[in-house]
Symmetry: C2
Subunit: 336 residues, 2 copies
């Protein structure tokens, strides 16, 4: 059996481009005792992957040049030498950008239940848990409060808004372009929606948060943060989950230096600015997430949207497009 | 009876100077039923007062032009028309920069116990509680962790370091000049001390925190923060209590804009940056503070230092000097 692999060829300076990755085909070895052979069905593309392309200090080691690009996958067991898995089982894996792989059984989780298997990469997986843990453990929305989230049609943002509403808060979503703006209200049921590309975004946003902002779930940074932070209430909480607007940045922007002003705002408004990676909360909260979110998704109280591209060859362009906000929902590659 | 009052005459543009305040003498009325006449003994000077001189958005309203400057005081009851107070009682008041005043009994707290009365303005008052609540509720130091505090010979900083040690953490203090640096270790028992004015401060600081920084209690901002933040550990907590280095600033410093870099650091290191004003914690924690800190001070486990100037007329210059770091310990005005 052969595997198509997409490997890191060159670290990008700015946006990833055609030179960033290379595609190779390799023979897959036979599984040894305790291993299984997997055929990958779905690959998840996520913003955090931009960090893995860089050697800048971060919470995880970078992908090395020549290594297969990392990523979460849903795969089918083709051959098993583990008692835990049988041929045909669907598993959650972290096998990266490749079509087939041999993996130790201990690194896999069997997917069961009625939910479509690829939801284990989205609303019922890492992005959904990121929303659930970051919002509930750091944002802590109270009934009647206003929760704002950007990249709001994405898998994290759409879950943040809907969970906020299930906790009795008002959800205000921000996304790029009128189509996404419309989907926020019509598809996901947000209380208000904004297009951050609209020339009057700042004015519209002010109108959408007449009582100020109690929780800003930070996915994007950049110009959206500049507008939102003018409307934060005293004691507002800002779970910092991602800063996709700056992921391709190559230097600090020109001045003036706004760091002292931000620190002053933190002080005078008793703000909580808290970065997090979902791993921190897994041990304590993942079981509750699967139970609670599973029920919300099954009963339609939390909706999700998928943006599917076909074939591993499409992954590099889809990934670069996601960093520019071109995906519309959870970005997945249908591998085979 | 007459009162000498120091009133706000003009809002300073930068450092407060000779034109900022004016001194007047007024007749004090007789106390009405439920009021007491106070002769002020001690006036507290604190960095937060700089904020009250400005109309910039903050957590409290500014002092109006022509109003008596605000401040905590210890006063003696000269005449009482309240059953709660008798002539000769010492009380904690918020009567501001004036030598005598008539105050409603409900706004006063009688001082009892063996501690010197002016400690109610320092280690056993607002500054001590600021340290206690900010460190324990936000910083949450664990045994073996490293806690860093600047302005460390001040009433907040010196308490932060000593409480950190009582919780099993290592205390590293930063202050301006060799005399203060020496006092941190010899007088307050810090584990390590730095002079932020030393030309090799950044290198010395790195040596003093070989295991990184778990809690940075932020009192000052500016250049000290720039150095400390390079050494923060993952999950570090930064209670933001004050930013005295920037209180006299009139504009944002020149670029590059470091705000995006700070937000990225918050994300990649899962930092908690949390502004606070001690009032937030009074209802839940003040009683514990008085009991616990009272015992620590009485038994010498928490030491404090006072910097006393004589006479209300000295208050404006002492206040301006404090904003430049010239005080050495809790700054008090002995009023009469």
């Amino acid at each position: 059996m052969q595997s198509t692999q997409i490997r890191l060829a060159r670290r990008p300076d700015g946006e990833p481009d055609a030179d960033t990755f290379e595609t190779v085909t390799v023979d897959v070895p036979e599984p040894a005792e305790g291993e299984v052979l997997l055929a990958v069905r779905w690959l998840s593309l996520d913003p955090y992957m931009r960090g893995r392309l860089s050697t800048a200090k971060s919470y995880a080691a970078p992908v090395e040049i020549g290594d297969v690009m990392v990523g979460g996958t849903v795969a089918e067991v083709v051959e098993s030498r583990s008692e835990s898995f049988a041929t045909g089982d669907l598993v959650l894996s972290y096998s990266g950008w490749q079509s087939a792989v041999v993996a130790p059984a201990g690194q896999l989780r069997k997917l069961t239940g009625d939910a479509p298997p690829q939801t284990a990469l989205g609303v019922l997986g890492m992005p959904g848990f990121t929303a659930y843990a970051g919002l509930l453990q750091i944002g802590r929305p109270q009934p009647g409060e206003t929760v704002v989230v950007a990249a709001a049609t994405g898998p994290v943002g759409s879950a943040v808004g809907q969970i906020a509403q299930l906790r009795g808060a008002r959800a205000v979503g921000i996304a790029g372009g009128p189509a996404k703006q419309g989907a926020l209200v019509q598809e996901f049921g947000f209380d208000a929606a904004l297009d951050h590309r609209a020339p009057d975004f700042a004015e519209r946003f002010a109108e959408a948060v007449p009582g100020g902002v109690d929780v800003y779930f930070e996915n994007v940074g950049g110009a959206v943060w500049d507008v939102v932070r003018r409307h934060l209430n005293t004691y507002a909480r800002i779970p910092v989950c991602g800063l996709v607007a700056g992921y391709n940045a190559t230097a600090s922007p020109e001045g003036p230096d706004r760091m002292p002003g931000l620190m002053r705002q933190v002080l005078t408004q008793s703000l909580t600015v808290r970065g997090f990676i979902q791993n921190e909360f897994v041990a304590e909260h993942y079981r509750d997430f699967l139970r609670e979110m599973g029920e919300w998704v099954a009963t339609g109280r939390v909706r999700y949207r998928e943006d599917v591209v076909d074939g591993l060859a499409a992954a590099p362009a889809a990934f670069a497009g996601m960093l520019r906000g071109q995906n519309f929902g959870k970005l997945l590659v249908r591998v085979s």
